[in-house]
């Protein structure tokens, strides 16, 4: 698939969430796998203040030759949101026809906890109405059932791989190299579970 927005056919994956949700490991596995598959890959993430419970983003772009590491508004092929309302915050980055994978999981910012702001009630329904390709899944629940809620990031990675049709890459060997041995089996199962979320749609 090529598109007019960038001449080289570069694809953009935007991972968003809240500091501490494991977006960094997921994007590490993702970009390593893409590199091993022979793509040029650039990945950009923002550290620092955002680690303290703030909104975090990771941009991954891959293709034959990638220049900018940042995805423009309206140019993400897929938006993977580790937290529900973050999908709304970053929705303007999605390109026409792009996919949204959204974790049905809420982390309430302080403004909501104290009652100063409201957490929108029907985010999934609104996304479902406005965006053609939305997959909402309970990645935390799936990971918890497999043994550890922390593997939710890899569940989401699995769903992303299926949506982007990147199953031809040897993800198991990438995970073997990047994930501690005692967490490996769990994460492979989490990955498979994420992949299967799409087939179950």
């Amino acid at each position: 698939m090529t598109d007019k927005t960038n001449g080289s056919g570069t694809k953009g994956i935007l991972l968003v969430g809240v500091g501490g949700q494991g977006t960094i490991l997921a994007s590490k596995v993702l970009s390593e796998g893409l590199m091993r598959a022979g793509y040029d890959v650039k990945m950009s993430e923002i550290h620092g203040m955002s680690q303290r419970g703030g909104s975090v983003t990771t941009h991954v772009r891959f293709g034959k030759k990638v220049y900018s590491p940042i995805i423009d508004e309206g140019d993400a092929d897929i938006l993977v949101s580790f937290e529900k309302v973050e999908a709304v915050r970053w929705l303007s980055y999605l390109k026409p026809g792009g996919f949204v994978v959204v974790n049905d999981y809420e982390i309430h910012p302080l403004s909501v906890l104290t009652g100063a702001a409201a957490y929108p009630a029907d985010v999934l329904a609104q996304l479902g109405r406005e965006v053609p390709n939305v997959l909402a899944l309970n990645a935390g629940g799936i990971a918890e059932a497999l043994g550890n809620v922390k593997a939710q990031n890899i569940v989401l990675l699995g769903a992303l791989v299926r949506a982007m049709q990147l199953e031809h890459i040897d993800w198991a060997s990438v995970m073997k190299d990047l994930i501690p041995p005692k967490m490996y089996d769990l994460n492979v199962r989490a990955f498979e579970a994420g992949l299967n979320q799409y087939t179950n749609q």
Binding site: K4, H47, M49, D72, E86, V88, G115
Partner: protein, 601 residues
């Protein structure tokens, strides 16, 4: 071998490949991971320095003594290190000397957006600007050789998006470079006025040689397109954005890509311009390249179309220069609530700030660190934050102003006391001099050193108080209380206090408030995210006694992310709570209890 690396990892790798012997830094986003990665290479003697000036002087001394040396810092850190920087330009380099400045366009994690390219011009230092991780590695490797060849420190300028982006890097091997033989050379290394003047003339000759090099080096190159209508002059990450923005034009656009951006290549720019109809200069923040191009009499378009504030991306460049603006395809009605960074659950600053917030007639001179986040409501601690160390010294000045006015009005309120707030690492960095000033000049400042036993905000680096080096080896820990007393604070005016103990905190704050001479409070509770702390407190959390809770919401006033009000009930999220008990201590009904066991094994 290929590896996907951040710019910071690649700079570390490049230094290692160049045979670098000595590395020094003070942590600061986005530069911190450079030294963290260099420290993994056992061949390089690495240290976390007390501040950036110390880091640069350590590197400078190593260079003078013949070693290849690197120091790294964030953009504002270079201000701290500017004094040695300027004079090292006179002294030059024996062993290659590389100074990394990591700028932060867009202010992701900084107090200002200064463009440090001007430092190269000002201090007359050659400047390299890589545009991806491969160039970070290659340029860093080359920088040491350039430094030795031209007898000058090399300024290595990167930005947040270069530091924290991962791109594919082809690795090389380490060059075996031994530390050069040392010969005493006071005419070159002792900057008396007479010696410095001699060096000053030589610097002008060096500039000429560097300018010739800049016009004819691999770092500055024209990439001709198939047409000569549009030409782009750019460097660093802006080059990548510009390439991206014009990638639809089937290779028609020509680029002058600049990697050595001081001195700029005058002849090369003239040559490029002579063949191009319209020249665009694409750069973030200051019109550094643009001013130079215009000085050469070359018409170009830059700042008049591109913004001066914030970082660029391809979309901004495309919309400004091509007029092609992409609309976002989708929108929904829901408005996401703001999600700014906040003090973590269990943060050792929370209870202290809550107790402080009870004083309505104080002004707080705060500083750079996690505790800056205390400025957000409802805690609202912090009247000013300027730079590292100002938490102490600006407090001295504030107190002078209020005292001179004689019980002054401040925002309609009377200010009777000034508190300074500064972290442990920041106090070692540049708070000590302020404290000495306060003692000697009889300030009545109440200084709070919020010691959480780590450099927290930048990702938990060791500091002089932690008792460990960057390699994790045990070392002498500097004791803050002893240090304050040595600075001249009376022993009875230095109070150590557990910041999880609200009674003790309140008492210390009261005594500090009432003191008529300098008073120092040192908190002792470590950062809740330190690994050993996490482990020790993993089984502990707070629980609400439903029968006792009257939903008065007092516990919500401490602004803890683990506490929420849902469906008419207060909830404590067990997975986030570390049982710090600040909420339990502010509860008027004793409805919150700490449960579980500490893991002290």
């Amino acid at each position: 071998m290929k590896q996907i690396m951040t710019g910071n990892e690649a700079i570390a790798r490049g230094a290692w490949e160049a045979g670098c012997n000595v590395a020094a830094a003070y942590p600061g986003t986005p530069s911190s991971e450079i030294l963290e990665n260099i420290a993994h290479y056992k061949e390089i003697d690495s240290e976390w320095s007390t501040n950036e000036k110390v880091a640069m002087e350590v590197a400078a001394g190593a260079s003078i003594a013949g070693a290849r040396a690197i120091c790294a810092m964030k953009h504002v850190g270079l201000n701290v290190a500017a004094d040695p920087l300027f004079t090292m330009s006179y002294i030059g380099a024996n062993g290659g000397l590389v100074v990394v400045t990591a700028d932060d366009p867009g202010l992701f994690s900084s107090q200002n957006e200064q463009d440090n390219r001007w430092y190269a011009l000002h201090a007359k230092l050659p400047m390299l600007e890589p545009s991806d991780s491969q160039e970070c590695k290659d340029f860093a490797r080359d920088a040491f050789e350039l430094s030795e060849r031209f007898d000058v420190p090399v300024l290595f300028r990167v930005t947040t998006r270069i530091c924290h982006s991962k791109t594919v890097v082809e690795l090389g091997d380490r060059e075996n470079v031994s530390v050069k033989d040392y010969e005493r050379n006071p005419g070159k290394c002792v900057m008396t006025p007479a010696a410095a003047k001699n060096r000053r003339y030589l610097m002008e000759k060096r500039e000429e040689a560097l300018r010739a090099f800049s016009n004819d080096c691999k770092y500055n190159a024209i990439e001709w397109g198939t047409e000569r209508k549009i030409g782009i002059i750019s460097s660093g990450i802006s080059y990548q954005h510009a390439r991206e923005a014009f990638s639809d034009m089937d290779g028609k656009v020509s680029f002058l890509k600049l990697g050595l951006t001081y001195p700029l290549p005058d002849e090369l720019i003239q040559r490029f311009a002579s063949e191009i109809e319209t020249i665009y200069v694409v750069e973030e923040n200051e019109p550094y390249l643009e001013n130079f191009v215009k000085q050469l009499g070359v018409p170009c378009i830059g700042r008049e179309k591109l913004p001066a504030v914030d970082e660029l991306n391809a979309g901004i460049v495309r919309s400004a220069l091509i007029g092609d603006h992409k609309e976002s395809a989708y929108s929904v009605e829901a408005t996401p609530p703001p999600r700014p960074p906040v003090l973590c659950p269990g943060c050792s600053h929370r209870g202290f700030f809550y107790a402080m917030s009870k004083y309505k007639d104080i002004a707080v001179s705060s500083d750079i660190g996690c505790y800056t986040l205390g400025v957000a409501p409802p805690l609202s601690i912090g009247d000013s934050v300027i730079c590292m160390g100002a938490g102490v010294s600006a407090g001295i000045g504030m107190h002078k102003a209020f005292a001179t006015k004689g019980g002054s009005e401040h925002g309609g309120k009377k200010i009777n006391k000034v508190f300074g707030v500064i972290g442990d690492s920041t106090f070692f960095h540049s708070g000590i001099t302020g404290l000495i000033d306060a003692v000697v000049n009889k300030s009545q400042l109440a200084l709070c050193i919020v010691d959480n036993r780590i450099t927290a905000m930048t990702g938990h680096q060791e500091n002089p108080g932690t008792g460990r080096t960057i390699a994790g080896e045990p070392t002498q820990a500097i004791d803050l209380k002893t240090l304050c007393i040595a600075c001249g604070v009376k022993p009875e005016n230095v109070r150590k206090v557990d910041s999880y103990d609200m009674k003790a905190v309140e008492e210390a704050l009261r005594d500090a408030y009432n003191a008529t001479e300098i008073f120092v409070i040192i908190t002792t509770q470590p950062c809740a995210l330190i690994k050993d702390v996490l482990k020790r407190r993993a089984g502990v959390h707070c629980e609400i006694d439903r029968d006792a809770c009257v939903t008065c919401k007092m516990c919500m006033k401490i602004a803890c992310p683990a506490i929420s009000y849902r469906d008419g009930r207060i909830e404590i999220e067990t997975s986030m709570c570390n049982g710090c008990t600040i909420c339990a201590q502010v509860c008027p009904r004793q409805a919150i209890k700490q449960v579980g066991e500490f893991n002290d094994g």
